[in-house]
Symmetry: C2
Subunit: 434 residues, 2 copies
């Protein structure tokens, strides 16, 4: 066993994840020391209410996070508070005083990762955040290291467990969104205020981080086109099943344009994917990320995206790497934003669409509908009529078309008197190229 001086850690936050980190640091201390080459020593934990942590040595607890971060004897700060402030101020203070930082804070990384990276670079320290995306799944390190010699073309992820649970329940039971959400809440998969999950904010932050790493470009959450799942109906789910598809909330990061006009499109929205796609089988609260790269081909990473222990596993993996770097006086790979691609507006993003229209069942309707698509340059791949008379529905699937063209088509369709209702418009992803 090494006799190197201990690497001293400050932990900011001691909720579900922080408690698991503290416990694993204790339980695995001998193995961690062997892997790092020096003991890891938890020197302090910043919490709001010290009396709420009965399993933790009270001498470690402090309510003064700023003072903890400023201590001279701390090597590495682990932040599991979440949210923008005070996390940002604390981490900039830590980096500014030469401490390396490990963060699980997707919101902060997606809003202002560039500032944190710049501070880490200026002070020659590490900023790692594997736990910020897809919990325990080793994803950021493979993207930024293993695939560093390849050219990633697309990343499609199921990165929010709450919404995946809700959509999986809807598919399994035929339930509507509200009913499935209530079940998710009752089982603890959804927060009392589920907006961050169901409206796609959480997935959008993760998409921004993934896109930045995959395409070597600074992407913030504001660059991500975002649609949640609250409008997904039991009818959409049934319609997907009829096409041998399933509905998933996807975070999609892809290259658009070519050459000097190359750009990055980042979007989060529900979409239909074929049941034969590897992502279709990712059920319940699991996460998975599907990566397409020019040389590597298709890859998928699957596992638990949330929870105290899985997230703590990711934090500890970063901790071993960062502690080893401290010992050897080196630094891991920093921000890579050299490509600096433009963000493609959602209107230019090209994909397929599933459109269901409740229509009057009379001659000429299909011709008029087809005309509306054609006038906007949207080519139809399949069309079928379901029901007759007052219950007639036209279900169309388009070839690949720009989002703006589809939006214009739907706008036109909605104005026709023989269309009683535009029942659903949903993107279709994961099919082979047109």
């Amino acid at each position: 066993m090494s006799r190197a001086r201990p690497i001293r850690l400050a932990l900011l936050g001691c909720g579900v994840v922080g408690t698991a980190v503290a416990r694993l640091l204790d339980e695995q201390s001998a193995e961690l020391a062997a892997r790092v080459g020096a003991p890891l020593e938890l020197a302090g934990i910043a919490v709001r209410r010290p009396n709420r942590h009965p399993g933790i040595d009270p001498a470690l607890l402090t309510t003064d996070a700023g003072a903890l971060v400023a201590r001279d004897d701390i090597d590495i700060v682990v932040e599991v508070i979440g949210g923008i402030e005070p996390a940002r101020t604390l981490l900039l203070s830590a980096l500014g005083s030469g401490k390396s930082v490990i963060s699980a804070n997707k919101a902060l990384l997606a809003e202002d990762g560039a500032t944190l990276h710049a501070a880490a670079s200026a002070h020659g320290v590490d900023l790692y955040y594997e736990a910020a995306v897809a919990g325990a799944i080793p994803l950021l390190r493979p993207l930024r290291e293993s695939l560093a010699g390849d050219r990633i073309t697309r990343v499609i992820g199921i990165v929010n467990g709450t919404t995946n649970f809700i959509l999986s329940r809807m598919a399994a039971s035929g339930a509507g969104f509200s009913e499935a959400l209530a079940e998710a809440t009752a089982l603890g998969y959804a927060e009392a205020d589920p907006s961050a999950d169901v409206d796609g904010f959480d997935a959008a932050a993760k998409a921004a981080i993934l896109a930045g790493l995959a395409f070597h470009t600074r992407i913030t959450a504001a660059d991500v086109h975002r649609e949640g799942i609250s409008e997904v109906s039991a009818a959409d789910v049934a319609s997907a099943a009829a096409m041998d598809c399933t509905v998933k909330l996807l975070a999609i990061c892809e290259r658009g344009g070519t050459g000097a006009g190359e750009s990055v499109a980042v979007r989060v929205h529900p979409a239909m994917i074929p049941t034969s796609h590897p992502l279709a089988g990712v059920g319940d609260a699991f996460n998975a990320v599907y990566v397409e790269a020019e040389a590597a081909g298709s890859l998928m990473f699957y596992g638990r995206g949330a929870g105290g222990e899985p997230t703590a596993s990711a934090v500890l993996g970063d901790l071993v790497a960062v502690a080893r770097n401290r010992l050897s006086g080196s630094r891991g790979a920093g921000e890579s934003a050299y490509a600096d691609l433009a963000v493609q507006p959602i209107g230019e993003v090209r994909t397929r669409y599933h459109v269901a229209l409740d229509v009057a069942d009379r001659p000429g309707v299909l011709a008029s509908v087809a005309g509306a698509f054609a006038d906007n340059g949207v080519s139809i791949q399949t069309v079928r009529q379901e029901g007759r008379g007052d219950a007639a529905t036209l279900v169309l699937v388009t070839h690949v078309a720009p989002d703006a063209a589809l939006a214009a088509t739907v706008h036109r369709l909605a104005a026709y008197d023989f269309i009683r209702r535009v029942r659903s418009v949903m993107r279709v992803e994961g099919l082979p190229p047109d």
Copy 2:
């Protein structure tokens, strides 16, 4: 763009993988330079027949691999020759003269990784080999870095594309082994001499490497219990399907024993797994590795396990990391063998078994069969009879039992006169714990 001095590379071998590496180095040179912080320059390629490489600058080619490796101007040696010699001698020479090494050579790493690691450590250089296991799938880096703070309990992999293709074909078409092998050969998925794949040698080498990384213990190919797929019959595949299972060639690395008696068991053999298991859906020539860790839970990594481009992607990922280390004067994580666990003999390995017996259809047979299992301490979970009279078959699935107990049971059964044939004995994996 950085003005750092170029990092100079020697490439040993220029077959399918080497050609793809050379091409990607050329095509991606600007991006690679941006990611590394210095240009990567291919300084020489050792080949056997220089006239066989029309797409390569002839000035780079040499038949004298030893002289290339000894050149003072080389920083990194990339070895894609395969086999034990001359690869080992060349790589030890490279490491001994301060060059970092990237290898795709699973056979060499599995036979003598310890010697190579020791040489790398003694000379303060890197030895990376992501491409040696599961081609393009980022696997070794996640195991040795992302999960470094966790405790891996089991690794189950489909790590040989040829056998997975054959077994997938058998399941899809009902074909026998020979017929499916012939199809794999015709399609280029199997070599003219398929023994390395179908007899499990290739998978065993990869299992040794995975087990070593997962359990921080030196494991060689000789430590791996190995059974191939040539005995897998169409009846086995049908029997698996009847149990809602599918047959896969699995590489399984797991912890055995507890406390001071803790050990590692590593085995490669065909096994039935439930169709609901994430590995069951891995078809054709794809690879996937399922990892269970105490904190992270279940993870899966999926992608292409072979082929020039996917393997080259893994080599280039290592190349970026190793080149960055050279520039910064640092080293990546070296061998980690501190746990030094014993290898558990196959006889002590505990799992479930599927046993099919062609029996005489007469009273008392089941009682005798059940007695043979009971006498050896093997508990039966389910038993069913298929067919009647001369076509009667008993199909049993056991609870978890040691391999030696099952072997003794089968030995006893084979001696009974009312058992016409022990039709198949196959392990069942991936079920929930007993």
